[in-house]
Symmetry: C2
Subunit: 200 residues, 2 copies
């Protein structure tokens, strides 16, 4: 892991521990094993550091998806939903999603964050729309509008992730994932691809 990546990790840990309101360079330094001066050496400002955090996790996430050997379009969308809504199942995913929501909520107050989130969002939606186009080409998806579906799907999976963070134990996680699965079956799959029993 590079020093830059270690600083990004320390930042997410500090964000979760303290919340954005109390996120100081000192708090980040406490989660970082090396000298705090290295943080100042790598990043001009907190805003610069936070935008880099968003870029780094976005790149890592996309890399994971691109190495996914799955080729079935429905399964690819399902896997994406599971990763975003439920996390990877690894320890610390809830904490990571909590920190992420904190950063997102700061975007209206921080132009560098907003721009990075907008770049990430455009790539994400294009990735989803490409899977939809693949599915239509393979004849397994109906001819929906890929951009409209991508915007809906991204709203749905990020909305469900946020609900998990915001509502904690009261979040309707299972209903939300079941709703997303049924969306894929009913809105995307052509009739001949729907299996018995999948239809509510």
């Amino acid at each position: 892991m590079t020093t830059g990546d270690e600083i990004v990790d320390a930042t997410f840990t500090a964000l979760y521990e303290h919340g954005y309101a109390d996120l100081t360079m000192e708090a980040i330094g406490e989660e970082f094993d090396k000298s705090t001066s290295l943080i100042h050496y790598h990043f001009d400002s907190k805003a610069d550091l936070l935008a880099t955090c968003l870029e780094t996790i976005h790149d890592e996430f996309l890399e994971d998806l691109e190495h996914d050997p799955e080729t079935d379009p429905e399964q690819r969308l399902l896997r994406l939903a599971e990763l975003v809504v439920g996390g990877t199942g690894d320890d610390g995913v809830d904490e990571f999603h909590t920190a992420l929501l904190e950063l997102r909520a700061q975007a209206p107050y921080d132009e560098a964050l907003r721009e990075q989130l907008a770049r990430n969002d455009a790539v994400w939606r294009e990735h989803i729309a490409d899977i939809v186009r693949d599915g239509i080409e393979q004849g397994v998806f109906r001819e929906v509008d890929p951009e409209h579906f991508a915007a809906l799907f991204r709203s749905a999976i990020e909305g469900a992730q946020s609900h998990n963070v915001i509502l904690g134990e009261d979040a309707p996680s299972e209903d939300a994932m079941a709703g997303i699965e049924e969306l894929l079956v009913h809105e995307l799959l052509v009739e001949s691809e729907r299996t018995e029993g999948a239809d509510a």
Copy 2:
């Protein structure tokens, strides 16, 4: 407008202006036309005030929906989506949604907020599920699982609202609303209710 309602309004204005990190009782007092001591008289703490804010706007929103003369289930869901995603078209809606996202992001750090948001969420989802049940009973909606659909729909419309706040001018607002409209047509409506051209 009661003094309590005026305080709630002042709180949302202050939240938008300063962000949660800089939201002080003084900042709220500056947006409030009467004496700041009245705020302390009405609310024990900032946490108490913020939870009351969420309760108040939730009640107002539900009241608006209950007075909606619309009876067609698809139109009711569409109207709900338009209200949540696009706001009412009134001035200040973006500012209000920005303040709301700030509050939501604080829920993991504030149990009173989390509990109020969980209560609101449960009422919301039940309201959506009831519309779905109505539609199934009227024979215009397919027999989907109302709870699964409600969780999906709520995630999708809140996710789209958050994207509008977070991404600003780069938010895919029109694609998201088009995706939500197509979701209603494809996932809910029975074949005979779908009009020509609605199908992608």
